[in-house]
Amino acid sequence: MGGLVAEGPGLRLDLDVFDYLILAIYFATVLGIGFAARRAITSSSDFFLSGRSMPAWVTGIAFVSANLGALEIIGMAANGAQYGLMTLHYYWIGAVPAMVFLGIVMMPFYYGSKVRSVPEFLRRRFNTPTHLLNAIIFAIAQVLIAGVNLYALALILDALLNWPLWLSIVIGAAIVLTYISIGGLSSAIYNEVLQFFVILAGLLPLTIVGLVKVGGIDGLFDKVRNSDLGDAALHTWQGTANSGNPLGANWIGIVFGLGFVLSFGYWTTNFAEVQRALSAKDMSAARRTPIIGAFPKLLIPAVTVIPGLVAVVTVKGLGASSGDLTYNNSIPLLMRDLLPNGVLGVAVTGLVASFMAGMAANVSGFNTVFTYDLWQTYVRKGRSDEYYLRVGRWATVGGIIISIGTAFIASGYDNIMNYIQALFSLINAPLFATFIVGMFWKRMSAPAGFWSLLLGTLSSLTLYLLYLGDVVKFNSDLSESFWGAGLAFTTAVVVAVLVTLVTKPKPENDLRGLVYGLAGTSTSGDAVLAADKVWWRNPALLGGIAVVLALLLYIPVW
């Protein structure tokens, strides 16, 4: 775990009473939102799906914010310092097309079929075993990732503020527990929206002061060109004909590995994300949710990748393999060097907020799937709605207690970013394959869904274990997760086709509204288009603008 933050006093920030006041006001606001959101909860649907009442701008910001955890921010600044501008691929080709695809093509199926979770969609499209398998994998993954967030929060607070680990873990867990178990998803979403603005307010001064220090963008690029990174770090596509570039990946790997399998897998099937769109007030708002999220996603690298580059040219010796000067410490180091008290408090608050929001997204995904997909479907059917609302609150408590346990599992890993990437390649890639085939090929049978998901997951798990056991070798952990994702995707598609050929298809009437070309009333072309009466609310148009902007942004840094 030394990869993220090292011991020692080197990173210690000198917070004063005003910085702590800013942090304390934030904690009070978060808890206040939880208590205020409680008034709006009268049914389990209010608790788990915000009563499907959220406006699109709220769900859109929450959608991008659920992804904007502190791990992501710290990790992307680290990648910026290590790989240069090629990190932009994670934001542009690696996110925007998938978000737009989710909004335009897939959301009519998710929202229109009125499912309450991604596993529930699988139950209706395929069968119960597929549903059970996915629900269990998802629930386990969510508490593992929540534990990682909790542990990373504790490490950061230990390094920056000298808080003991156990104290940060207990405080972080207690605050998230309070506002989710009381206020449910509304509380999580509202806090995500608030957190989005707070983290930007924390990162913006870092970027501004950093750029002034190095003489603007031109000064920064000059200094990077003369640094060890060199000119290659200032290009995104040039030099991707082969793998002789900072990222070590060629354009095929970037387009298909990152841009297609990993990115589509993450954004389109990860329930912690999709849940935000399911809480939107109508179909049009649900479809616009990921597309509205794509616009901030385009611009976020300005406050993560640029500080990473500033750090590499201003912090002497950055890039050590251990100690205080690892790439992962780029943002904390700049906070220490550049920010005076005041904005420093805002920046620390932003980091703390984003850890809590990341954890809250995992926990609110977990309690929904546990309650609706596991408890209500397999353990206690047909009870009253109040009963399931109570189960949801207890599931939140249980999920958080388990997260505290998994936080200590995470402490056993050297590099938590790679641990998370490995989890994504195990979970999302096969699920995406099963989904995409099932959604576009009505012939795909129910057993095919189960076997493709199971064997796809097992294939990448096997590769991961062989890699850990040194039986199979890759250039880097990143390269393993790319190949693992590719293998899982291919296996899942092949198995889906083979099993379908020898089994009976589901009757077409059972698939209406779930499969492309077999539209239910909600997913026919007319119904989908009719929802968008004003042109500036048209998801296809907004999505097209987002993709074009991504292309244009690439031009100056190709």
């Binding site: 800013i22 307010a201 501004i208």
Partner: protein, 96 residues
């Protein structure tokens, strides 16, 4: 969608407070604190930030952001969804 569900949906939407007010209030408070700190910043703090009066500028920017959210909420107060809204949003409850 049944009448019962419809009623619940409307009540949930109506009862939920407006997040714009919370964002606006938080940023106005942050803006005031940080702006005041910025006004009284001493030279060593300004030097730390490469000569930028970052507290002053960020404080004013946060004050402005908070003001925009409060003004937006005042300009377009939240409305409980009408019957028409609920119908257009749920024209197609398949499966329920």
């Amino acid at each position: 969608m049944t009448d019962d569900e419809e009623l619940k949906k409307r009540s949930a939407a109506a009862k939920l407070f407006d997040i714009r007010r919370v964002i606006g209030a938080l940023f106005v408070v942050y803006g005031v604190i940080v702006t005041l700190l910025g006004i009284f910043d001493n030279q060593s703090e300004i030097d730390k930030a490469s000569g930028v009066r970052i507290n002053l500028w960020m404080g004013l920017a946060m004050l402005a952001l908070g003001g925009v959210f409060l003004a937006w909420q005042w300009w377009r107060p939240p409305v409980a969804p009408t019957d028409e809204d609920l119908q257009t949003s749920d024209e197609t409850p398949s499966g329920t």
